[in-house]
């Protein structure tokens, strides 16, 4: 436990020797506020000592429950077509962002063509439901299979390499998928697919049904991704992100672990594609351009890489801000860009950065004389 009364050099150069071990102790005693005393960029050093009441509220599981309930109850509060439209769009974007967060945030693999999986999902669902007349629910297993195949095709050769190569290959992959869709007759060429059916008739307005379905799927996806990140695989991902060689030396099969992250991300993207196809009823190649991949990546970075609540907030900001700026017409994207730059200047670590939560249990396990065996 750090003593807040200890003198601290503002430059951080002449710290007393105890202070350096205090850093480690701070981590162990689960006081993330003390972990980065120097501050980064233009941000001041963290002032807080211990969780504030506000952060205790937002990190409680009941807060997440309240958000989910609020999301599901939205149609009762405002059932306007516009509200539901942009809310559904935003939720689909959240799904994409948490999916990419697994790849970029957890595992540190820079994917610049994430919209490719989104396109694969949307086109598989659209094609099977319009050309072959499948009910949209039945297309979901096919979408998962196609997304995994896409992940295998791109991941298998490139994940053996370092991350930079992956970025270039995925950038190409994103464009290949879009241009292929633009040139094939079966995907409707530049016209795309239209008349995609919705989930069916449940006695509610179709946009309400779609919203609820999306809200449930996306809530499950957010919970799944958050739990994945905290589990054994999640820790292996973070290890690979921090130092691939060290991870390998510690017995982590980095190739398998990276593959798992990539394929998980692909599945999330594919499922988001199904929701998008149903929601839009018409899909065409321009909806899956590079800008989309960049915007999803931006949501992850803006929210805080590796932090599920942060990424959700980031995705909501990126998705809703252009809609709220509708009145600005041609200035819309200028204002949007300026706001993003402002956020990145004042919060370079993201709106809601990741705080390590494992050390508490690690500290508890430390005195355990039995060494843990890593598979």
């Amino acid at each position: 436990m750090t003593d807040p009364s200890l003198p601290r050099d503002p430059a951080g150069t002449q710290l007393p020797p105890e202070e350096s071990s205090a850093y480690v102790r701070a981590v162990e005693t689960k006081q993330p506020a003390n972990v980065a005393p120097a501050g980064t960029g233009l941000t001041p050093a963290a002032k807080g000592h211990g969780p504030t009441s506000a952060s205790r509220v937002v990190s409680s599981p009941w807060f997440a429950v309240a958000i989910v309930v609020l999301a599901i109850a939205l149609p009762f509060i405002d059932s306007g077509a516009y509200t539901l439209r942009i809310a559904t769009d935003a939720l689909i974007f959240v799904m994409l962002a948490v999916g990419l967060n697994v790849v970029v945030g957890y595992c540190g693999l820079l994917d610049l063509g994430y919209a490719a999986f989104f396109a694969i999902g949307a086109y598989t669902a659209g094609l099977l439901s319009t050309t072959f007349g499948w009910p949209i629910i039945a297309t979901i297993p096919a979408v998962v299979v196609m997304a995994v195949v896409g992940g295998l095709v791109i991941g298998a050769p490139t994940l053996r390499l370092r991350s930079d190569y992956l970025a270039i290959v995925t950038l190409g992959f994103g464009e290949i998928i879009r241009i292929t869709a633009n040139n094939l007759d079966i995907t409707g060429g530049p016209n795309g697919l239209f008349g995609i059916p919705d989930f069916g008739d449940f006695g509610y307005r179709s946009d309400v049904t779609i919203y609820w379905f999306t809200a449930v799927v996306v809530s499950l996806a957010v919970i799944a991704s958050s739990r994945l990140g905290r589990g054994r695989l999640g820790r292996a991902w973070r290890f690979v992100r921090e130092d691939e060689d060290a991870a390998e030396a510690m017995g982590i099969h980095t190739y398998k672990v990276k593959f798992a992250a990539y394929v998980t991300g692909a599945i999330f993207g594919g499922l988001a594609g199904v929701l998008f196809a149903v929601h839009q009823t018409a899909i065409s190649p321009p909806s899956f351009n590079f800008l989309w991949s960049a915007l999803i990546l931006m949501a992850v970075v803006l929210g805080g890489m590796g932090s599920t609540p942060g990424v959700v907030v980031g995705a909501l900001v990126i998705s809703l801000l252009p809609e709220l700026l509708r009145g600005a017409e041609n200035w819309r994207y200028l204002v949007f860009g300026v706001l993003l730059i402002v956020v990145m200047i004042f919060r370079p670590q993201g709106i809601w950065p990741h705080t390590p939560s494992e050390p508490a249990s690690a500290a508890r396990r430390e005195p355990d004389p039995q060494p843990e065996v890593t598979a």
């Binding site: 409680s60 599981p61 009941w62 997440a64 429950v65 989910v68 309930v69 599901i72 109850a73 149609p75 009762f76 059932s79 306007g80 077509a81 516009y82 509200t83 539901l84 439209r85 942009i86 769009d89 241009i179 633009n182 040139n183 060429g189 530049p190 016209n191 795309g192 239209f194 008349g195 008739d201 006695g203 509610y204 307005r205 179709s206 946009d207 309400v208 609820w212 919970i223 929601h279 839009q280 009823t281 018409a282 899909i283 065409s284 321009p286 909806s287 252009p322 809609e323 509708r326 017409e329 041609n330 819309r332 994207y333």
Partner: protein
Amino acid sequence: MSTPHRRAAVGAAALSLALALGACGGGLKEGSSSNDSGEDAKGDIKLGMLTPLSGSSAAIGPYMKNGAQLAVDEINAAGGVDGRKLALTVEDEACDPKTAAAGAAKLVTAGINVSVGGYCSSATLPTLSIFGKADIPMLIPAANSADLLKSKLKNVFLVNGTGIQQSQAASDFIKSKGSKAVALLDDNTSYSKDITTRTADNLKNAGVAVANKQSVTAGESDYSGAVTAVMRAKADFVYWTGYYQEGGLLIKQLRSAGYKGDIMVADGAVDKKLVEIAGQANAQGTYATMTQTPATIPGGDAWIAKYKKAFGSDPGPYSPQAYDAVRIAAEAVKEAKGSTKGEDLITALEGIDGFQIFSGKLKFTPEHTLSEGGFDILVVKGDDFALNS
């Protein structure tokens, strides 16, 4: 550790289930369409327009908006429709399907009775079902891809000439020029490719050789690949069916590569900006297929003067179509005896016969396209397009 989580999850599930089952919100039930405004037969008649106000086609937005506004102002000044005023709401479509869909939903929420917008075909497609479910008839002034009609939606009416009519005009003109080898270039969007495909078919039937047919990627700045292919095919007539941005660059790069033959563009590229981008010298004599506009029909000068007086600038592409769409909407409300219910308006629109619009006398075909809508051939003279004589 997992206990509070589990309890929380169960709580969430129970609460949401309770909310869903005890759904008291009558507005969520099927059939309670958002377009309930059909009942208040006394209020304003609300018109909504989706048009690009941002993005690559942002130049077109104000033209369409002003054209529609002019018609609204005229009708209101003349006492409205049976004493009811028209009100126009404009939303951005940005030529992007997602933005367009959100804009359409916003218009539905605003309670519009008739939609008089739609510029980019790919962005208009997802709005069809949104307006359709809300029981709102659509008079689409610009977007004219054949795909808009493929779903055979009752509420969709095209006020612009379609690709079928345009490609007919184009192939007739190419044949009359006695061309030996034609190059057809599109930007791989639904609107553009529709025209090149139909023109190629027409030319083949007319016995004119298509030496080169290719799709270029929109939004690039270097089209030397396309230019080289045209030169190698020894084409003497190039027909570009995309938008003005790429069209201008293509003309510039074709001319600087030494291309001597004729160039023609389709209606999406008819804009002063095309001449600006290509450079005036390069663009001189470039032909264009374009729906009839006030500038090209007798007596249109008075309308142009009116437009200029109201907005301080010349009307542009699709100003007349937007103007017509509003007038047709007003006519339909009048025919429907003041009802703004979707089905009444659709019946009224289908029944309109002989209503005078810019492209001639209005009568919708069973497919909801214009029965007559001539295309003119324009030519670049100076810094703008003029009727080819």
